[in-house]
Amino acid sequence: MKKIINDPNQVVQDMVDGLIAANPDSLKQVPNTFVVARADAPVAGKVALVSGGGSGHEPAHAGYIGKGMLDAAVCGEVFTSPTPDQVLEGIKAVDSGNGVLLVIKNYTGDVLNFEMAAELAEAEGIQVEKVIVNDDVAVEDSSFTTGRRGIAGTVFVHKIAGAKADSGAKLEAVKAVANKVVTNVRSMGIALTPCTVPAAGKPSFTLEDHEMEIGMGIHGEPGIDRTSIASADEIATTLTEKVLEDFDFSGEVAVLVNGLGATPEMELYIMNKKLHEILSERGIKIYRTYVGEYMTSLEMAGCSVSLLKLDDELKELLDAESTAPAFRS
């Protein structure tokens, strides 16, 4: 394991300290927690957004804290959901009396811990709603199972719901637009290499030198298929087609080409070239393209493609001001 760390069991602590040190004017840490919040939270008159989950997906989620996006991010241990008491602290730190929306990636651990936190918060008289993001088309969609995982598409929920909240909308309306994003976003990724959780010290799975896994999750969850590594054009085609099969994107879309950690930006742009070719062949209009690391998996090599179908409301909110370091607009 080659990492620039100190005690493997202290990485989240150290990271949060370093994050706050880097952004003393815009961020604050809720004492005795791994909750990071807007320095000016609670923001009077505004519905607050709280997200979070296991660490190791940076810049998700603390990088999305800022005007027009999240009010707080709850940082769990690496790849482990934060506990309800931590999430509760996050909710309490940002509620201005206008209620709090929880943006949760669909993993059983995250869902259960955030739900309990919501109940605890309601017990304290705080109005809480939640939206569960499940954009990973590599998992089949079923109401009888745990269902699809939440991956990079979550960033669009942060951006658009955050903009809605910033516009002064009520909790119900913010929740509604968040769900609208969830309904209209789909993603899928591939991995070329595993990653190593610091406390574990060794990779959680292995991939041969010639192998890649199609549809692998951001914690190394199994995907659809393990094949020998393909060209960028083939990978872009596979991912895009799976996403397009799953939902009718005809019209206008936003595109997110996301790097999982070790993959250079150069490769993401090479993917993006083909992606644009495929979409324009299909007559799908691209309104905005985002290329970079938005939802990572430590030092995993690989990428994901997300598409969000847009209407006028979503376009306006997507372009609205955001001061979050990881998503300026």
């Binding site: 934060p82 811990n113 309990m116 998992v139 199972t145 745990t146 969850e221």
Partner: protein, 207 residues
């Protein structure tokens, strides 16, 4: 036969010993069909619970259950944390006010706990989760009530745990492995087995 405050504390202590002892086994079960942390999670949480219980003063059993629940909630993490936390929280509410817990109120308490787990996790029997041990065990205890025998409780729990091996997971991380989840014992069911085996041990000493 009645369980008193110290018996409940004993229950968590014995469970903790077994979980610490089988920590790596539980983690091992979570590797092929999960993310390999169940033993670590449970060991962290139960250690916290017994520490907490050893430090406080209690007026009635429900308080023990509530404190244990809070400790598990804040320390176990993952999917199992809220589930075990909810179970003991509901059980605590169900026996609130009682000075001791007899067979009937044990059935009440554990039934409430099971209901809590099902509501929280939205899992039914056969989905390869905690429910597949808690469900059969609660059924058994209800059917026996006061003639409950410790040995049978243990074996019922063990058999339930072993039956999860043949199940395909449709809830929790293991569900991503679909058919591949068949052939492995469910980690959470294994930890639940330790919970009930420990309860049986406490029960036995009373009878």
């Amino acid at each position: 036969m009645e369980l008193e405050i110290h018996d409940l504390i004993k229950w968590f202590e014995i469970t903790n010993e077994r979980i610490q002892q089988h920590k790596d086994y539980l983690t091992g079960l979570d590797q092929p069909i999960g993310d390999g942390d169940h033993g670590i999670n449970m060991a962290r949480g139960y250690q916290e619970a017994v520490t907490k219980l050893s430090q406080a003063e209690y007026q009635e059993p429900s308080e023990v259950l509530r404190d244990a629940s809070m400790a598990l909630l804040s320390k176990v993490g993952g999917a199992s944390g809220p589930l075990y936390g909810t179970a003991f929280l509901k059980m605590s509410l169900a026996v609130k006010g009682l000075e001791t817990i007899n067979a009937a109120s044990l059935v009440n308490g554990l039934s409430a706990a099971l209901l809590g787990i099902k509501q929280r996790g939205k899992a039914e029997a056969g989905e390869k989760t905690l429910v597949d041990v808690w469900g059969p065990v609660v059924d058994y205890i209800s059917s026996e009530e006061s003639n409950l025998r410790a040995e049978d409780l243990t074996s019922q729990a063990r058999m339930a745990m072993e039956r999860t091996k043949e199940m395909m997971a449709t809830k929790g991380r293991a569900s991503y492995f679909k058919e591949k989840s068949i052939g492995h014992i469910d980690p959470g069911s294994a930890s639940s087995y330790y919970v009930f085996a420990s309860l049986a041990e406490v029960w036995k000493e009373k009878t």
